[in-house]
């Protein structure tokens, strides 16, 4: 059977057809996956917000579809925002120390103070220097934890595990894993040298670099959360430098020999905040989402999310006792007292820290 192909295109000249095809392809590629779809809320978040048990109750309560896009690293989030159209995104979860600079760039809207459960929030988070900017709130602390050490209790002495020097301890040569994030690791090394993270200057980096490179011979794996978890569970490493509750709490129920702690010199606090984007077209709904996440129920679900566990910012979070045990809930007041907030690097310092880390990976 022969088709007369010329008839298939009758009425459409080649130029028109090609133009239309190219236009269709371009339109398809330029439209974001779920940009501003009716009845939907687009949230740019860390992976712990992708848990269905956290999202579905909000969707049901507000008859809305929550589209979740996860990312790692503020740089990635900012580049996604740069490449999106205004209004594409409604909610942003971000490293709390980055909030001031993001707020300064006009990316986040100012939130009403009463949106947050300040009375039940852990005071160290409530009063952290980056929680407000000139008395205004742009993102509310929602979850926090520490950069410390995870270890296998069967082979690692707990006294060794809480020493900031464990990464260099010959006893664990070739048994060390390192969480692949230059920013906290370099600050932890600063802590082990007696420097307060917030006071680390660019002039301190040479010494920190030397100490970091000296750890490499002891290191077996450097990886993201899943990679270091895998190394610890499969017995390839005994210690994870930079890990803590976010690395092993969700593994402890099935691997009771795993544990975590912070250094005797103190841990480094990490803290994520949730805010609403200034260019969102549905700020009210976005603020409802923020309220849900900060509610006792939402906080409990976020703290024990599938992707990673960590402490909720709201101490009234609904969490069962066993899970609280894995999160070391009873140690929090001691941990918080002994821990340090992160430094605020400028772009030049940040780049210098990344250069040192890149050299460490290659060394």
């Amino acid at each position: 059977m022969t088709y007369n192909t010329s008839k298939l295109f009758s009425g459409i000249d080649r130029r028109t057809f090609l133009g239309a095809s190219a236009g269709a392809v371009a339109a398809t590629t330029m439209i974001p996956n779920f940009a501003a779809a009716a009845g939907s809320l687009n949230v740019l978040v860390w992976c712990d917000h992708a848990d269905a048990k956290l999202i579905e109750p909000f969707e049901a309560a507000h008859n809305v579809k929550v589209n979740v896009k996860t990312y790692e690293g503020t740089g990635t989030a900012l580049s996604i925002l740069e490449q999106s159209a205004p209004g594409d995104w409604d909610v942003l979860v971000i490293d709390a120390p980055d909030v001031p600079r993001v707020a300064k760039d006009g990316i986040l809207m100012e939130l009403p103070k009463e949106i947050a459960p300040w009375d039940t929030m852990f005071p160290e988070l409530r009063d952290a220097p980056y929680t407000s900017v000139d008395g205004k709130y742009y993102a509310i602390p929602e979850k926090f934890g520490y950069y410390g050490f995870c270890y296998d209790k069967r082979v690692v002495d707990p006294a060794d595990a809480s020493s900031g020097d464990i990464g260099w301890n010959e006893k664990y040569k070739g048994r060390i894993g390192v969480y692949d994030y230059y920013f906290p690791i370099l600050q932890m090394i600063g802590l082990s040298m007696g420097l307060k993270p917030a006071d680390i200057k660019q002039s301190d980096l040479a010494e920190i670099r030397k100490r970091l490179l000296a750890m490499k011979p002891n290191v077996k794996v450097i990886g993201d959360i899943v990679s270091v978890q895998n190394a610890l569970v499969t017995g390839s490493v005994d210690v994870i430098v930079g890990g803590a509750e976010f690395t092993v709490s969700n593994l402890i129920p099935t691997n009771p020999h795993l544990d975590w702690t912070i250094a005797d010199e103190g841990g480094l606090i990490w803290n994520q905040g949730i805010g609403v984007l200034e260019k969102s077209n549905q700020k009210d709904l976005a603020m409802e989402f923020v309220k849900w996440i900060l509610s006792p129920k939402g906080q409990g679900l976020l703290a024990t999310s599938e992707c990673f566990w960590a402490m909720p910012a709201n101490s009234a979070a609904e969490i069962d006792d066993e899970s609280k045990g894995h999160l070391r809930w009873d140690n929090q007041s001691d941990f918080l007292k002994r821990s340090h907030v992160s430094l605020f690097p400028d772009a030049e310092m940040d780049a210098a820290m990344l250069d040192i880390w890149t050299e460490f990976l290659q060394s």
């Binding site: 022969t2 088709y3 007369n4 192909t5 010329s6 295109f9 090609l18 095809s21 190219a22 392809v25 371009a26 590629t29 790692e72 690293g73 740089g75 990635t76 900012l78 580049s79 740069e82 600079r101 760039d105 070739g174 692949d180 994030y181 230059y182 920013f183 290191v219 077996k220 794996v221 450097i222 990886g223 993201d224 990679s227 895998n230 190394a231 499969t234 017995g235 390839s236 400028d346 772009a347 940040d350 780049a351 990344l354 250069d355 880390w357 890149t358 050299e359 990976l361 290659q362 060394s363």
Partner: protein, 297 residues
């Protein structure tokens, strides 16, 4: 005995039109448009961005070669490039050495009716996700994995061998993947060799080894070259396998690119690294283009 070259078969030219419509041109346009949209345009954008800078968290079109200078002045970045080349070359060589005999056996020793099934079995691992396959290898190679557990229980070793999180593990993961690809490209080439050439060589007194070395091998080299080139191109740009199996303990260029993008969104620096990788691949193509005969695949 001299090397035999195969005369080009004469093929009828396809009709240049169908019902008055210039079919051949129409057929070429989608590929042309696809290449422009998804290769040429992104490449030109990436090339332009490589001269920009990220200043105070913002991309600035400053048109400077500083990023290139930075790449070549940082010894650890240049070493990363050499690491990438070493891993890629070793992977390609091992994959070819394993894939060629496999393809040869399937093409010449396995009855035709079984060849499809054998090839299907060969590419079966392709059906599993790349990441899953890499993590599966970890379960085999880790300290309490299958290999170490078995050798420990048999008393062959006293303590686990360091198999996972090494360059060897990275290469193993790559070889597992690319051997399958190479078997297909080499097999496709081998079965195109006219049987009468092999018979003629035999009739003229060539031994099996001589026939292989002077007829089969030269005629199958285009398949080897194409498969090896594909292996090289994909391996040198791969991020997942070194990350999972190599334990990220040595830097390869894709790792360095990801660091720039995911941590500081420094797209200009990431673009420079990508351009350097592309230059390496292009250089390789120019060197080997005379052997890359895609029409033989």
């Amino acid at each position: 005995m001299t090397n035999i070259s195969v005369p080009r078969e004469r093929t009828e030219r396809p009709p240049s039109s169908l019902g008055g419509l210039p079919v051949t041109k129409w057929v070429a346009y989608p590929a042309f448009i696809f290449s422009i949209l998804f290769f040429v345009a992104p490449f030109l954008i990436m090339f332009a961005v490589s001269f920009w800078q990220r200043i105070s968290g913002r991309l600035e079109a400053t048109w400077t070669i500083q990023n290139y200078e930075k790449f070549f002045s940082k010894s650890y970045l240049v070493e990363a490039l050499f690491n990438s080349l070493e891993v890629t070359i070793i992977t390609t060589i091992i994959s070819v050495l394993i894939a060629y005999p496999l393809a040869y056996i399937v093409a010449f020793k396995v009855p035709t009716k079984w060849q499809r099934i054998i090839l299907l079995l060969t590419i079966l691992p392709f059906w599993t996700a790349y990441v899953v396959r890499s993590y599966s290898w970890l379960l085999v190679l880790s300290d309490n994995g299958i290999v170490n557990s078995t050798m420990l229980s048999l008393g062959i070793i006293n303590e686990p061998l360091k198999l996972a999180y090494t360059r060897g593990a990275t290469i193993l993961g790559f070889v597992h993947f690319f051997t399958m690809l190479l078997v297909l490209t080499i097999y496709a080439n081998l079965i195109q060799i006219p049987k009468n050439l092999l018979h003629a060589a035999s009739d003229l007194g060539a031994s099996a080894t001589q026939t292989f070395l002077r007829v089969t091998l030269p005629l199958s080299l285009p398949g080897v070259a194409v498969g090896a080139f594909l292996t090289f191109v994909i391996t040198i740009g791969d991020y997942i396998t070194p990350q999972i199996l190599g334990g990220n303990t040595e830097l390869l260029v894709p790792q360095a690119i990801m660091l720039q993008i995911s941590r500081t969104a420094d797209f200009p620096m990431a673009a420079v690294m990508s351009i350097v990788l592309m230059a390496v691949v292009t250089g390789l193509y120019l060197i080997f283009q005379r052997y890359l005969k895609l029409d033989r695949i």
